[in-house]
C-alpha cells in the first residue's frame, strides 16, 4: 500500500505519478470500506454464527445454545429447500434468457431512425422504472385477473377461454411479469452496444458483399457479446433474490410452486421468528447465489472465447 507501482494500476495511471513521491490517500477510501464491512460483512459473519445456534424470538423460554448443523439438517430433510433451489434457477434462468432475447429484438427495432423513435423508446423503458410491487399488483389484478383482466379478455377474442395464468401455471405467470419488467433493461444495455458498432467495419463487410444477415452474425453479434455478458450478469445478480414480485403476485404459492430461496427464508423461517433456521437458510442462499454467479462467469467466458474465434 505504499509508493510501489504495480500492474494493478489501471491504464493511463501507470505513467502518472510514478516518479513522484506518492502517498496513498487511505483516508479517502477507508470510510466506505469500514461502512460496507459493518453493514454487510459483519451481519454475514453473524449469519454463520446464528445458523449454528437455536434461537426462536417467540420462545424466550427455550435456551439459546449451540446445535451444530441441526438447523441445516432440518432444512435438508424438509424437502422444500430443493424445491426452492429449483424454482430459483428456473425463474432466474427463464427471465434472463427471455428478456435478453426480447430485449435484443427491441433494441434492433429501435436502433434505426424512424418517426416517433424517442417516444417509442420512452414507452419501452417504462416497465423498468415501475416499482416491482406495483407492477405485480397491476399484472395480477388488472391484466391477468380471470374475469376482469385484459389478457383473458384478449385471448377470449381468439377463442381461448377461461385463462387464469397465476392459478393454472403460476411459474409462467411470475416469469411473464418479470420478463416485462426486465426486458427494457436488457434492451438499453444492448442498444448501447448497437450504437457503438464500428461503422467502418460494417462498411468493409458490405463492400465485401456480406448480406444483412452475415453483417449481423459476424460483425454486430460478436461486438454485442460483451454487452450481453454485462446484461446477463447484472440481470442474474438482481433476479436471483427476487422477492417483491412473488410476494404480491402469488405469495410463493400455490403451495411452494413459486417459492424461491429468498421467499423460502421469509416463508418457513422468518415468519416463525426462528433466527437459527432462517440464518441457516440465508447462508445457503448466499453460497448458492455466489456459486451461480461464478459458474455463469465461467460459462459466459467460454462462449465469449468462441465468439472471438467466430470472428
Amino acid at each position: 500500500m505504499s509508493s510501489i507501482k504495480t500492474q494493478a494500476a489501471p491504464q493511463g495511471a501507470a505513467t502518472w505519478g510514478a516518479s513522484k513521491k506518492r502517498r496513498t490517500p487511505t483516508g479517502l477510501i477507508l470510510p466506505a470500506i469500514v461502512f460496507l464491512f459493518l453493514v454487510t460483512q459483519l451481519p454475514f459473519l453473524l449469519t454463520i454464527f446464528f445458523s449454528l445456534r437455536s434461537w426462536n424470538l417467540l420462545r424466550p423460554d427455550l435456551p439459546q445454545e449451540w446445535v451444530g448443523l441441526e438447523n441445516y439438517k432440518s432444512l435438508i430433510s424438509d424437502g422444500t429447500l430443493l424445491a426452492a433451489m429449483r424454482n430459483t434457477l428456473v425463474f432466474t434462468g427463464a427471465v434472463v434468457v427471455l428478456s435478453l432475447l426480447l430485449g435484443l429484438g427491441l433494441a434492433l427495432l429501435v436502433n434505426r431512425p424512424f418517426p416517433g423513435r424517442g417516444i417509442v423508446r420512452t414507452l419501452l423503458i417504462t416497465p423498468m422504472l415501475i416499482m416491482p410491487v406495483v407492477g405485480a399488483l397491476v399484472w395480477k389484478n388488472m391484466m391477468l385477473h380471470p374475469v376482469y383482466g385484459a389478457v383473458p379478455w384478449a385471448l377470449s377474442k381468439f377463442g381461448i377461454q377461461e385463462v387464469d395464468v397465476l392459478a393454472q401455471n403460476p411459474m409462467m405467470g411470475v416469469v411473464g411479469i418479470s420478463v416485462w419488467q426486465w426486458t427494457p433493461f436488457m434492451m438499453l444495455v444492448l442498444l448501447a452496444g448497437l450504437s457503438s458498432v464500428d461503422e467502418t467495419t460494417l462498411e468493409a463487410a458490405r463492400i465485401d458483399g456480406a448480406s444483412r444477415w452475415h453483417e449481423f452474425w459476424y460483425v454486430v453479434l460478436p461486438h454485442l457479446s460483451s454487452y450481453a455478458t454485462v446484461a446477463v450478469l447484472l440481470g442474474t445478480l438482481f433476479l436471483l433474490p427476487t422477492f417483491d414480485t412473488l410476494y404480491v403476485a402469488t405469495g410463493g404459492g400455490p403451495g411452494f410452486a413459486t417459492t424461491n430461496l429468498a421467499y423460502a427464508v421469509y416463508k418457513i423461517a422468518f415468519a416463525n421468528y426462528d433466527v437459527g433456521l432462517s440464518s441457516a437458510l440465508g447462508l445457503i442462499n448466499a453460497v448458492f447465489s455466489l456459486a451461480v454467479c461464478f459458474i455463469l462467469i465461467r460459462v459466459i467466458g467460454r462462449i465469449f472465447a468462441r465468439g472471438e474465434v467466430l470472428q
Binding site: 510501489i4 505519478g17 423503458i125 423498468m128 410491487v133 445478480l237
Partner: protein, 271 residues
Amino acid sequence: MKRLRSSVPTLLAYACALIFFFPVLLLLLTGFKTEAQAYSMPPSLLFTPTLENFARAFEQNYYLYYLSNSIIVVGVSTLLAFALSIPAAFSLAFYPTRRSKDVIFWVLSTRFMPPVGVVVPLYAIFLKISLLDTRTGLILIYTAFSIPLMVLIMRAYYLDLPREIVEAAQVDGASLWRVFFSIAVPLSGPAIASAGLLSLIFVWNEFFFALMLTDTNAPTLPLFMSQSQTSKGLFWANMSASATMAVLPVVVLGWFAQRYLTRGFTMGAVK
C-alpha cells in the same frame, strides 16, 4: 412495395411499445375512473375522468406519511452513499496501489450478497440497538447497497478524465484535498447523475428490507402498495390512484434522464 417493406419494422416497433406500455396505461387511466368503470372489459377509453380516487388516497391511506418516509430515506441514503463513494472512487482512480484491484473486487462482492443473507442478523442487531422500524436503520442499509455501484461508476468516469488536469494541479502544489474538492468533485456531474439516478430508482422501489425491518414508524411507499392489496385489492380505481402517485416521481425522472440511465448501466460495467 419497397416502402411497405421498410415500414414493417417501424409498425412492429409501435406495436411493441404499445404492448409494453399497456399495463402502465391501464394503471394511469383506471386511477381516473369510478370503481364500476374500472371493471368494465374491454377497458373503456372514453370516460369522464374523476379525481375522487386521488382525493380519497390522500384522505384515508396516509399516503403522505409513506411518501415522506420514502423521500427522507431515498434522499439521505443517496447523499450518504455519495459522501462515502466519491472519495473512494477518486482514490481508486487517481492513486491506484497494488491492492486497488482487490479493493474494487471486495466492494463489488458486497453487492453479490443476497439481502436474505444478512437480514436476520440485521434484524437482531437493530432490535438490540433500537434501530428496528426506524428510518435511520433503512438509510444505513440502503446506503451500503448503493455504494458498490456508485464506486464503480464514479471510478470508471474518473479513469476517463484527462490525467493532465490533476497532474497540473499537483505540480502547482495543490494538496490532495484541494485536488479532490476543487477539481474532481466539480467535474463529476455526469457520473453523479448516472450513479444517483440508479441508486435512487433502486431505493425508491426496494421492498424486501422495508418489509422485514419496518412496521408502523418507517414504512415506505412499496409497503403502502403491498398493503393496499389486502385492504382494497378489489377497489381497482382506488388502488390505481395510489399506485400512480407511488410510481410517478421515479417514472418521470427516468423518462427525462434516459441517457444517464444507459450510461450508468454501461459505464463501469463494460470496462
